[in-house]
Symmetry: C2
Subunit: 324 residues, 2 copies
């Protein structure tokens, strides 16, 4: 099974999608954000999951694309809420146009995502839409929790994992479940693939947190230490806050909310130094590995010959070991 | 057929809806906006349409409520875009909480509206969701056109009618179509009911435009002349702009964008005087009647005994003749 080839097929599908034309102000931002690219991980996972049950994934292409459209809808709205100026190195929609346009274009994207699922066979449609809707609401809950956490003094590691599970992981899990359901996989397989995806999704987000601090400057697309500079409560920060000595805690708190000009490098270095002292990097890698092993355990339980799992396994591994 | 009784059943359904609990910041605004009330016209139309084919509308209650949830989702997002401080005399969600909350709670409402339709019989589900999605996208297109028109110098009457058709009328049309489809009405009946609704929806919006200027101060919930004060391009204003003499046109343009303090009463009176000179009230009433007659023509064509159409006919008439 060739990922590059599958990726091609997927991009072809995404490229030929028609969202609408009039009024242009509503539909141009959709084409814009969809053209920004990205790894297209979620739809690829839909296809890889489907391929385990049927080589012919023609019927899965549009539902896979629907997941990518939904994902980009969440990005468009999240970027407004987070006041993010850039997305994949380009202006965000609310910056290039305005917030109203980003709200309304996002709304239409959510509707289009649903529409793209309506070609699913009638005997599976209700089930898929029920799971998709549940997932969509959970992603919104995750975003709300993320915003809540910014306003809170204390957030536990457990709360953080719950938040990223909703905000990031459940859509990865749904992607795998979707591919399986569409190809008539047994319920237990679909459920294990969902769990595989949820765990990969959590590990993926923890890897993201890690790369922000310990990523390769040249390969990582964003500023290294961006999370530290914006006082983001990442897994690394929350772990450090839990384990810091009184002196280390004081240092972190002194730097927190210090956004004076010119302190950039110094702040990142100071907080990273404490992370190093507390072995936060190693602890985060352990957590990533924990969720990755959980994921593999569920993949093991899927009732298809092992050779059919290899592409999914190696893609998951790539996502864990990525340095950008 | 008793509208009050049907309305009771509907309110009971709306009252028992559960949107979710955690995080509270996400779900509290949904309960808030749904509790603000309103005429509940759209779900009532779903039920009345359904009743023409089957006295038992138990299976239609939840889909009818879905339309009301969808409608309130559009209100929540429109209010952000329009920077509206009040909705039904109460603070709008983005005022009471903030814009981010209104964006995200609205998103979940759209998802919940879809979920509430998933109990529809599998043989009808795909069709209903296709029509619902088409309608939802059209409503967004209408809102975008409405915003575009604010920025434009010239808008034709035809463009205006197209905009209100999308923004307001198609959801009324869908409501009637939905009730018919759910009770197994013939396709041609469903289509005529859709057309009936679209035309009632246009007439309803024109009535709204009219009431803003010529409504009874005591009964109309908003400030009389609000549209004039905010330079809104309503049917009345666009008709006046088309028919004004050079002098009248100059007067209107002089007042336009004049938002100096204390001119409120004077501006409303001056513009209304020109409306009076041009018989805008009568012309608007003629247009309302035109669309109402179109609506009735489609209701005539529906293949059920005439006595079953009476409640729908009299409700539509009430909506046309309402003074608030």
């Amino acid at each position: 099974m060739d990922i590059a080839q599958l990726s091609n097929q997927l991009n072809q599908t995404l490229y030929t999608l028609r969202y609408g034309d009039n009024p242009a102000e509503l539909y141009e931002p959709i084409r814009y954000i969809m053209a920004l690219g990205g790894k297209r991980i979620r739809p690829l996972l839909v296809l890889l999951s489907a391929k385990m049950y049927d080589e012919d994934v023609e019927n899965v292409l549009l539902p896979a694309a629907a997941v990518e459209v939904f994902h980009n809808f969440t990005l468009m709205h999240d970027d407004i809420m987070d006041k993010a100026p850039l997305r994949r190195g380009q202006q965000t929609v609310h910056e290039k146009w305005n917030a109203n346009t980003a709200i309304l274009s996002g709304d239409v994207m959510l509707v289009r995502a649903y529409e793209m699922l309506l070609g699913i066979a009638p005997d599976k449609l209700g089930k898929v839409l029920t799971l998709f809707s549940k997932t969509a609401a959970e992603v919104c809950e995750g975003q709300q929790l993320d915003m809540n956490f910014e306003q809170r003094e204390q957030v536990s590691i457990q709360e953080y994992i719950h938040m990223i599970t909703l905000k990031t992981a459940v859509l990865v899990g749904f992607s795998l479940e979707l591919g399986a359901i569409l190809q008539g996989a047994p319920d237990s397989d679909a459920e294990h693939l969902k769990q595989f995806g949820d765990n990969v999704g959590i590990a993926f987000q923890l890897r993201d947190d890690l790369l922000d601090v310990y990523g390769d400057k040249d390969k990582f697309g964003k500023q290294v230490g961006g999370d530290i500079l914006s006082d983001k409560k990442t897994f690394l920060m929350l772990t450090a806050l839990e384990q810091a000595s009184p002196e280390q805690l004081q240092t972190i708190l002194d730097w927190r909310d210090n956004t004076a000009a010119g302190i950039t490098e110094e702040k990142v270095q100071a907080v990273t130094a404490i992370y190093d002292q507390l072995h936060i990097r190693q602890q985060t890698e352990q957590q990533i590995d924990f969720y990755f092993q959980e994921a593999l355990r569920h993949l093991e339980a899927v009732q298809v010959p092992d050779e059919r799992k290899s592409t999914l396994r190696s893609l998951a591994l790539q996502l864990m070991e990525r340095d950008s």
